[in-house]
């Protein structure tokens, strides 16, 4: 792979303009505010101190530094350890981990662990649980089983985030913050009573009068006509004999995306009251997941993405393409996310074989390194590898890390990260702040228009199942 001469500005191969302009105030950034150009792209790795014996933390974080990683990522799933009992917060263990990272020259991305409430919370307040399309109430036992619309859940999240914010206010060892983790319900939608009530409120706010809604939704057909907002349910094909109203579906998609944006804003506002302006706040989204709209999330400092290219669903190009992933997948993510608030990073990048795919191939030799350089070419300010150490027990047991479950031996794909860490060092040495992009490069401009509204609408009322605009 030829590495292009380094320039201050990333070549604008594509420029994504989001068509929907939401009313949420934008926090559009000058990338320099958080990420000095001379750093090019910083590389880090996820670590879960709560998953490993305390005696091994120091060895692991030292090793992380030795292998060239510059930051780590803590606590996005640690609520049960941060608040083991209601109202009793425990940061001692996390302080220790932060200090061990710092001691080894590793910056910390600190996370709010809202996607994984402790068992006691769902037990005490089952009304926080999400209800899926099938009418099943989700349960404690994996993650993201809660309703973003639940006022009770939001109250508990607010307290937890405030406790973290207060504890780590002005902590120089913290580089930036991540809210939640991949908020998306992994493609599922929420039909809980809390979501039903919140959707009605959203509609009331949008249409003001039920007559306006009836007119815009065309409810005259099939006698759908509503007398008041309280009669409206979230459109759900599983409880309807024929097709739901298409405008109801589209509005529900908009509502859902607004709801998670609002939930992120809630956490952002709490944190911002306490942390210094030099610390950034982001979240990590999956670029392809329809329930969340990254272009709406201009209420954070910027948004980042997570990307897994080899998991049995992406056929890539050529004979062994399923072990390489599709280049358009990562390129689309780069172009879409860079355009939002003017800066982005890759919060999770696959380190080799995963455990949750339809089938879980070994990544093709060299592709992990290729992806990292693709991320760099795409303008990302950092890349974080998910995860440093392969787990020995629990979820994601067979998911590769940079090093194996023994904490010592790197995985084959982990070695590719380590190689890039060294190459990055070399590149930085050759960084020339005054270098300019060649003029004929700079002239090349392409625009991709991407409208979440249109995507939702074509998903809901496709001309045919044989054609997919997003894939195109």
């Amino acid at each position: 792979m030829r590495i292009p001469k380094i320039n201050k500005a990333i070549c604008p191969l594509a420029l994504v303009a989001a068509l929907n302009f939401v009313s949420i105030p934008s926090n559009a950034q000058n990338p320099e505010r958080f990420f000095p150009a001379r750093d090019l792209m910083t590389i880090g790795s996820y670590y879960y101190p709560e998953q490993w014996p305390r005696a091994q933390w120091e060895r692991d974080l030292k090793k992380m530094a030795e292998l060239g990683f510059e930051f780590t990522h803590f606590a996005e799933f640690a609520w049960a350890f941060i608040e083991p009992q209601e109202g009793k917060f425990d940061f001692k263990w996390l302080d220790e981990a932060v200090e061990l990272a710092h001691k080894n020259g590793i910056k910390v991305i600190m996370c709010t662990s809202s996607p994984t409430p402790p068992a006691w919370l769902a037990q005490k307040h089952p009304e926080i649980l999400m209800v899926n399309e099938e009418g099943r109430t989700m349960q404690h036992g994996s993650r993201q089983h809660i309703s973003w619309s639940s006022p009770v859940y939001r109250q508990y999240v607010s307290k937890m985030v405030e406790a973290m914010a207060k504890h780590y206010a002005n902590d120089k060892r913290i580089w930036g913050w991540q809210l939640d983790n991949e908020p998306s319900h992994y493609g599922q939608y929420d039909y809980s009573p809390a979501a039903q009530a919140s959707f009605q409120k959203w509609l009331k706010n949008k249409y003001k009068s039920i007559d306006t809604l009836n007119k815009v939704w065309g409810t005259a057909f099939w006698s759908l006509v509503y007398d008041n907002f309280e009669q409206i349910r979230i459109p759900n094909q599983k409880e309807l004999i024929a097709q739901p109203n298409p405008h109801a579906v589209l509005d529900y998609r908009r509502f859902s995306a607004d709801e998670v944006t609002d939930f992120m804003g809630l956490q952002y506002n709490i944190l911002r009251k306490y942390i210094p302006a030099t610390q950034w706040i982001t979240t990590n989204l999956m670029p392809d997941h329809a329930p969340v709209d990254p272009t709406r999330m201009t209420n954070l400092d910027f948004v980042t993405y997570t990307k897994y290219l080899v998991a049995g669903y992406d056929m890539g190009i050529g004979d062994q393409g399923f072990r390489k992933g599709s280049p358009t997948s990562i390129a689309f993510a780069n172009d879409l996310f860079r355009s939002i608030n003017g800066v982005t990073g890759v919060m999770e990048l696959q380190p080799g074989q995963v455990n949750w795919g339809k089938f879980n191939p070994q990544t093709y030799p060299g592709v992990v390194r290729m992806w990292i350089w693709h991320a760099f070419a795409g303008g990302n300010k950092f890349v974080c590898n998910y995860r440093f150490r392969q787990p020995l027990t629990g979820g994601e047991q067979y998911h590769y890390g940079i090093i194996g479950p023994d904490g010592i031996n790197p995985s084959t794909s982990g070695l590719e990260y380590i190689k890039v860490n060294k190459e990055m060092e070399l590149l930085r040495k050759n960084y020339d702040a005054k270098a300019q992009m060649p003029a004929d490069y700079k002239k090349r401009l392409t625009a991709l228009l991407y409208s979440p509204d249109n995507r939702w609408e074509t998903d809901n009322q496709p001309q045919t199942y044989q054609w997919n605009y997003l894939s195109h």
Copy 2:
């Protein structure tokens, strides 16, 4: 397409004899009672005044007449406009539409809008809602979400039908009546408490004693033996570990078909008390939908069918066959429905692209015209196009009409209807009441035996999934 010389009798290419003889009294008809032979086949189109600004009704109905349509079809989804509040009936808007049709020489098929109860009804009486195989209670938000077995629903329907009957009694502008619309639950079955109770009653009526049922159903196997009718539930694979009793399944299919037949009979009897003998009463069925048995519906004046040939499921013949539909599909419908009470019509015929198919191709140029002539050759007394004007908002947004959403420009396939309207005028001029079918034509007789019982049984206990009798 060669149009055969016109004869009084339609050539009996096929003669469908339904094997099941139900005890419901037959209303077998002389076709001449409602449809003079000299009219050959009358062509009309659906219109939804409630979906369009009142200011456009006159222009639309005038246009309909100009394009050669002779009747229109009102109100099958208009309950919310007919009874906007419980007990407060409003026919003013409908009177106005009827008069505008009449003014333009267009006859009206008036419909009872039982498939689409207003929002207030389901809100006040959730016990009217259907429960599907998955145990989900269906909801307001599309159509046909109610249980035909619900006594409460039947009471509200009776009141609405009586109000319509009284209002339009002896109205000469009304050509005939349609009950409900495509009663079928679109292939789903009802497992609501109301249906459970009604099924037990049906069984009690059929078998008299539980011992007889136990013997006929062979309940000795697997200790199914029932002590009383109240122990019996509708057989539902989703709540059984192994296969349900096959006789229970067959009886449930018979019950379901009887239930909807009875629901039609209920409406028929109310209407007949008020309307003149010259006005006919029918309903429109989908020929392939198993939950309803057209051969049972001899309690109406006659039954009509609805037919959509190009919607991504019918591969037709040849390379572009999916844009033409299968000729056997329309021929089977003609032969089956003509044999019931001796007269039939096509209540809905596709006007071009639909919106609800697996994929929604454009109809092949000329096939819409071909279908209309197929309907004529098949002995139909009328063909009604669904729908006159493509909707601008709401359900079926991308479903073609004769004219586009602008109300002015005909669709490509609408032009084919218009062409046939002119051809029909010409044919009528050449009609010879004394013409006889050639003798060797008349001799050609074929019988198809079709037994709904056998169909339900082979659906339930097929020899193999690789073979389907109905398709054959």
Copy 3:
């Protein structure tokens, strides 16, 4: 097919060693205790007196004897006839059938009919019903709809088994006993409140403290951490947004297999108090069904299996292989079951076409005979054909028997059984108790290691959907 020279010991083509050693006391057998070597392999057939007019029993059982069958199999689905009302037991009809069998020289396998509780039981105690993965409560209407964990159900089963045991204690006409029938829930799992409570108890018993469970399950990831055993639910993908904890899944599989083993033990212990040592107690398992682990069931005298090779799912070998079934399927069953307690039999072997397959082909001429000899070569002490007479009504209506629904004419495949019955007679005449297996045969040893734990784990966390260890 070449029939090998008869030896006392069956050639140990394969030796299956189950890896999991459970603490349940083993009843390892000397095969001679129940099955004299000189009998080689005994062949019998299922019969349901309760399904046929009493007047035909004598003719049917006489015919069974005439065709060469040596034992029959009664009552596994007859609870409603044994206890038609709560606490009122009726053995008169069964006594009569047993006597008619005995009169014709036919031994009886007597069964406890726990898989098919009478209608009155589920009506009185709906809390005994199983709840499936979808959250649906199973209902009366087929079989195995009850929860093995329900204390109420176990109480009723205990009473019924005790009544049978008392009634048939020391009855010489009874050859042996079968508990339940194919206990398995046919691949479904139980999520009822009774099962939830029993799973928590099982976990408490295994892990003693919640801290130990948290450590072993790796609940630190995703904040799953439990505060107490009562917070734990059976892992169910349908109520979780992401993957369940893999250790929870594995423990639940172990629990389920233990639960049915315990349920069998409960019945075994009641029976053993009453019946003579010469009568054996077994159950019949399906070798491929994951919810049950035959290697755990060492608390019975031995376990037997049921086998259906031609039902549209087993492609077999060659062009018409789907009509022959796979030889590895029957060989695996032989090797696995023979290794458990040292003796086994085939409790059900397909007699020709079945009715419940995806498609239901006719068995290839000669294969039914081949399977019986495969069973013999695999060391089975008996083979029981399912079923003697094809039913006229009720479940399994189109399932072949040895004879047709008329009770007179044998089916094509029934004729193959009859042929083997005669061949077996011939073989017995040539039996030489002193014959030895050739030395080089005896030297040939192969071991197959089969671990249910590993199977459950690879089912739950497969590397890929394209590979299956069990099929391999």
